[in-house]
Symmetry: C3
Amino acid sequence: MKSYRKELWFNTPARVALMNITPMVDECLRESGIKEGLVLVNAMHITASVFINDDEGGLHQDYKTWLEKLAPHDPTRQYRHNDSGEDNADAHLKRQIMGREVVVAVTDGSLDFGPWEQIFYGEFDGRRRKRVLVKIIGE
Amino acid sequence: MKSYRKELWFNTPARVALMNITPMVDECLRESGIKEGLVLVNAMHITASVFINDDEGGLHQDYKTWLEKLAPHDPTRQYRHNDSGEDNADAHLKRQIMGREVVVAVTDGSLDFGPWEQIFYGEFDGRRRKRVLVKIIGE
Amino acid sequence: MKSYRKELWFNTPARVALMNITPMVDECLRESGIKEGLVLVNAMHITASVFINDDEGGLHQDYKTWLEKLAPHDPTRQYRHNDSGEDNADAHLKRQIMGREVVVAVTDGSLDFGPWEQIFYGEFDGRRRKRVLVKIIGE
């Protein structure tokens, strides 16, 4: 069994952002030389997500609107987490909806994806350096 | 390390449907001959889910009602994704609640499940051919 | 490839509870002797979750309030699942928001975590013995 590990670093200018990171994960897989196995891609921070969906701008706008409705940022004092001086309780909630991680099959050296699957980094409390872990195991 | 891959195809007559696919995944595991490892089961489409819960009709009705409340299909023009002529933005949202994939332990050649765990395909934009990936790695 | 399996048992005095189980998973990893691979930690019951987030009391209060808003326990008769005499339909819904499982990378014999990542057992229908599965594969 081979294993591979890499951290991907991000610093989004906006508090909330969705970024297509598929090319970076593809590059990791190439570097790893692994042909059959599993890739784990996870946010290493608890106010961010990694998820798989469509690379379509209208949909990303819908996600932001919808998450804001389900877990609004304001008023920040509605959350007990923010009593300690934080203002990111909503980001911890949004990340649970969108998920922490994805596990993707590796087949013949490629990410084994359906037609529209793309991997996204979902940032809900940005404007600082944060990272994603890519771990690959297989042969 | 051994690996196994299979696609399962579905075409649900209704737009929204929940199907128990545990027997199919069991069959894949038998075919694979793998005794210890992990099974990944994921939707290959971004408007569908794979999840684990209870095979109980009342609960499935509750899921449908609840998802419709959290991410309503109508009016379709409330979503920017639908500006391009699509009508399935809600399905992309519902799938994030229910999840893309499950990872299940394989122990002694069986799916290592608690008493009521069953694997479901959750379709939120059906009436066309779509598929699920089963990938198993182990020994 | 090595594999390791352990069940962790819980019996929470309250119906809803969030417990930090990271030390138990750490102990499993030590017992396994595995240095590189993946850990799967999943609820074996369908009214409970395993998730990764922050060990902060205010946030846990926020999760409980938020989940109760998204999937209220009362009135129990709003759910068709409860027609059969159950009262835990809401727990099946809450568990979908928080997730069934986490997959964590193992690197150099440790859980490969970001600064604040901790693993939690999320109980939504407690006051009885229930369990979590820890499965580790690797070398």
